[in-house]
Amino acid sequence: MLLYLRWSVPWVRVAVAALLVATLIELVHRDAWLLWPLEGTAVALLAGAAAWCLDEQAGAVVDVTPRGLAWRTAARAPAPALLAGVWLVTVWHARDSLFGHAGAVLVQGLAALAAGTAWATSRRAAGNPMPGLALAATVIPAGAGWALVRPLPDQLPVFPYGTATPGQWATSLVAWSAVAAASLVVLALELAEARWWLRRRRPVTAGGPGRPDGGTTGVGHAGRSTWAASRSGATRQ
């Protein structure tokens, strides 16, 4: 698993993302009133980077190996965990500059990490080998744009500012917590469903590579991914 972790995760990109996140929060720490949009940018970067960690360039190859999606996702988990660690440390370091809402900011980042991981895993399970790149290219500029403009600050306090009311901070915290919870549920379902799907969709054929007890072989979720890839691939052509 360590060997897989070493070679499968784009560590340079993870390091760049971690460094950028730390830089962004450090800048916010220096002048939160002026540089607050960088906080939202950092949150968006976390979502994109987490998803990017799960990209599998050789998805078509690894999908048919014995290692299933759950195993491969678990093997790559240290990368999002590293980003989470960087986020925890930097937010803790800047806690005095976060308008008294360091906890809410912390939840934003962790929820973004969970959402990015869940989305990428979901797309990987559906046969898309590199969903993270597309997500990062969309969510990072979109998050930065939202953080800069803050449209509808009263109705949609995604990244509340220092002038936001306690009610707006509370709304934001609840929304981000809901995103985190939903992401974890999706992640768990996707990883678990891979095996359930396999049991439902891959009947053991006579003379095939079935187990002695009548179950399926440990081909991971290859059947699902291949089926899904052919389905989605047809529409992408």
Binding site: V16, L34, L38, L45, P151, L152
Partner: protein, 291 residues
């Protein structure tokens, strides 16, 4: 039929196609929806400054997101060209077609700017905001530069990056760097950072923290700054076309040098013509900005 006619015809066809692609891009739709929401909100909740700083919305949404949109469209065009095998259309023609797609964000930004002009004229700013002596044209020129020029410049920057740095993550990384530098070069630090006028997006007035949150002009001439940005946009198109090894690079180098010199001159003039020293409003704002 001459080669020139064929190229022109291909350019027209490709330009129409790229405009359609831009219009259908999901990131453009995201930015367009946010633009409409933001403009509607700011028009119905007019701030004391009468939206003098609202150029930010178009700049961030159509500029920053436009960078990524155009990068994505350019890579898509390259992939299609690679898949086609024998290249029927030169890269420079595809670059020009992609550059012409900026008409989409330009149009949206123009509509937004016209709305801002109407709001500004119908709800004049309060006395504690725009410093005395600053004309309406000055304010509207700033809004034009921050909104319309950014909506054109962002996508063109995306085109240049896609041509010269076609690596994974370039667009996302560029968007972050763009945001960081822009925030640091708003003129919000002591003295108003006169050198900031060489950057692609900045403020020329606002409630400056280094001046006790009083509305203050910062050095620079927005009229010349708009021309400076236009010259940068032309340079961007030249840089994108220049990437094609079959283009007339010798001629392009000459044109680029001329436009570059013009841009430099305009940048220097932006610094030296107009308000070269900060002018602050003696009145303190009745409400902090952002509330």
């Amino acid at each position: 039929m001459t080669v020139t006619t064929e190229t022109g015809s291909a350019l027209r066809v490709l330009a129409r196609q790229e405009i359609r692609h831009y219009l259908r891009h999901r990131l453009f739709w995201f930015s367009a929806v946010l633009m409409v929401v933001s403009t509607t909100y700011s028009s119905s909740h007019v701030e004391p400054s009468s939206g003098a700083l609202n150029g930010l919305a178009a700049g961030a949404l159509l500029g920053v997101l436009g960078l990524v949109t155009m990068y994505s469209l350019t890579r898509r065009s390259d992939r299609a060209a690679e898949a086609a095998g024998a290249v029927a259309v030169p890269e420079r023609v595809r670059s020009l077609a992609l550059a012409s797609a900026v008409v989409v964000p330009f149009t949206l930004a123009m509509i937004d700017w016209v709305v801002e002009v109407v709001v500004y004229q119908t709800h004049p700013p309060t006395a504690d905001t725009i410093p005395p002596g600053v004309s309406d044209a000055f304010v509207l020129a700033v809004q034009f530069g921050q909104g319309v020029m950014a909506a054109v410049g962002g996508p063109l920057l995306g085109l240049v990056l896609a041509r010269w740095v076609p690596r994974r993550g370039t667009a996302a990384l560029a968007a972050i760097v763009l945001v960081i530098l822009t925030i640091l070069l708003q003129g919000n630090f002591s003295g108003g950072q006169p050198y900031r006028v060489f950057w692609v997006w900045t403020h020329f007035f606002g409630p400056m923290g280094w001046n006790g949150d009083r509305w203050t002009t910062v050095p620079g001439n927005p009229f010349l700054w708009v021309l400076y940005l236009a010259a940068l946009c032309v340079l961007g198109v030249i840089a994108a076309v220049y990437h094609d090894p079959e283009s007339d690079r010798r001629r392009l180098r000459g044109v680029a040098a001329a436009v570059g010199l013009a841009a430099l001159a305009l940048g220097v003039l932006t610094l030296t013509v107009g308000y070269t020293e900060p002018i602050s409003n003696p009145l303190l704002p009745s409400a902090p900005f952002g509330e």
